[in-house]
Amino acid sequence: MKGAQFLVKALEHEGVEFIFGYPGGAIMPVYDALLDSRIKHILVRHEQAAALAADGYARATGKVGVCMATSGPGATNLVTGIANAYMDSIPVVAITGQVATPLMGTDAFQEVDIFGITLPVVKHSFLVDEAKDLPRVVHEAFRIAKSGRPGPVLIDLPKDIGNAEADFQIYGNEAEPSSTEPDREAIARAARLIGEAHRPVIYAGGGIGMAEAVNEFRAFVEATRIPVISTLKGIGAIPTNHPLFLGMMGMHGTKASNHAVQACDLLICIGARFDDRATGRLAGFATGARVIHMDADASEVGKLRSADAPIIGDLKKTLRALTTNSLDGDAWRHQCLSWKQAHAWDYNAPAPGIYAPWFLKRLAQRSPENVIVACDVGQHQMWVAQHFDFARPEQHLSSGGLGTMGFGLPAAIGAQLAYPNATVINVSGDGSMMMNLQELATLRRYDLPVKIVLFDNRALGMVRQWQELFHSERYSEVDLSDNPDFSRVAESMGIPAFRVESKEHIEDAIDNLLATRGPVMAHVVIDQMANVWPIVGPGKTNSEMLDRVAS
C-alpha cells in the first residue's frame, strides 16, 4: 500500500466524513487515493476557504474538521484558516503536500516551509519524512487536535512519502482524549467563595461548548441562580432568552452585562480567557471582584488576571463537582434584572432605511429552532451577537479571536454539509463577502441550501465607525461604493438573489429567504452611517460605554 492510500484509510478510521481541499502537484498521490475512498471531498475555490469550512464543520459538530492543500501557495493559502482555528481553539487537521524529501531545502518549485510558517498558529505539527511514521502521525494529529483545549494540527506530507510503498498498519485504536481531573481543594475553595459572595456573576466562555459541558453549566446556573454574562464565543451556553442571561459583555456588550461585571464582587469565569475585547482596559475590569477561573488550559489561568480560586481541568467534571446552594442574593439578582430591563434593545430606528438589528431580530424570531448562523466579521457580526437568539453555542459560528473577514460563507458550507436538513444562514457584510466570494460557486456545485443575508452599507462599516468616533471623522480607505452588484454576481454563479431596500419589505424578504429550497442571497441595503451600539472605546473600561450618539 502507498503512503497516500494509507493516509486516506487512516482518515476513514478516524471517522472523517468530509475533506475540504484543493488539489495540486505535491498532494496528487492523496487525491488519487481519495478516488477509492468513502470520504467526500469538497472542492472549494480557494484554499483559505478549505480551512475555514473545516473550521465551521468542527464548530457545528464538535468533530475534527479536515482540510487539505498542495505545497507552496496551496499551503500558504491555508494559513489564515489555520490561525483562525488556533485563536478559537477549534479542532482541525490540515494536511499539506510537500515537495519530495530529496528536493526539500533546495527552493524547489512550489516548495515552502509550511511547517515553519505555521509554528505559531498550530497546536502541534508534523513533517512526515519517513514513511514508517505515518500511522503514528495521523493518530497523534487527531488525538492532539481534540484533546484538552482543542486546536489545529498540521501534517506536512512530502510527495515521495505519499508514494512510498510499505506495510502500513492503523496505529492503535482511537483513544478518548484525556481530560484532567479538577483539584478537590480548588473546588472547595471556589464553593466557599461563592458562599461568601453577595454580587456574583458568571462569565461564560466558548470553552463550555467546546468541552461539551453545556448541560453541566446550565445545571450550575439553575442551582445557583447567579446572573450570567458571556463572551462572543460563550453565546448559547445558556439560551439567550433565559431570564438570568444579561447578554454579551465587553466592547459591544449589553449595558446590563457590563454594569454587572463591573459591580460584581465575585467573577466566576468558566472557559474564557479575559480577552481584551471582553474586558476592556484590564486594569479597570471588575476591580472589586474575587475570581474563580475554570479552564482546561492551565496556561490561560492567571495569564491576564490572577485567580483567587484557579480550577484547571475538564469543565464537565469541574461543574459537576462544584455543588453549591442557590445564591442568597435576591437584591443583586433584582439589580441585574433591572439593568437588563432598563437597557433592553430599542428597535425604533430613526433612519428611514432598514435597521439591521431589527432585520436580525425578526429573522431570529422566524427561523426554525435548529438554525445555524455563520457570521463574517464586522458590524453585522456584532449585531448578530446582540440581536439573534441562540439556544446552543454550536448554532453561532463566529470568528472571535482572529476576526477573519471571509469566515462566514465557508463556515456555513462546513455546517450545512454536516447538517443537510438544518437551516444555515450566513450573515455577511459587503466587505467580508468579497473576501471569499468565490465560494458561491462551491454552494452551487454541491447545491447547499445556505441562506445568505448580505448587509451592504457600501463601506467597511466597523472601521468607518471607529474612524468616525475615534479618529475625528477622518475616513481612510473605507468607502466601498464601487462594490459590484451582488445580486447579479450571485446569479452569475447560479445563486438566486434579491435586493431589499426598504423596511416595509423586511417580512417579505425573510419569507423569501426561508422559503427558498436551495441557496439564496438576500442583498440587504442599509444605511452607510449605521453604527454598533453600545461601544467601549479603546483604552476604556467596560463602565465607559458610548451609546447611540449620531444615528
Binding site: 515553519g116 509554528l119 505559531p120 502541534h124 513533517l127 496556561s299 489561568v301 492567571g302 495569564k303
Partner: protein, 88 residues
Amino acid sequence: MSTLTLQLRVKNEEGALLRVLSMTRRRRFDLLSVNADSSADGRFMDVRMTVKAERSAPAFVRQIEKLEDVTQVEVLDSAGESSAHAAG
C-alpha cells in the same frame, strides 16, 4: 524585569527546539542564553535557557509546559534548586 532559568527535556522531534524558542519570542520574553544537548540515546534534548521579561513567569512556564514536545520543565532558582513539572 526578572530573569528566569528553565531546564527542559524536549523530544528530539522535527522543529521541537524551534517551537520552544518561537513560544519564547511570541510571549515577549527575551532570550538571554540557551544551550541544547542531545540525550545519550538521541531521543531527547536537554535545554537550559535563561529569559527575562516583565510578564508573569508562571504563565510563561505553563505555556512552555503545554508544548507537545516538552516532557519536563524545571524552574531553577537563583540557588540552583529546581522544581520539576510534568509537561507535554
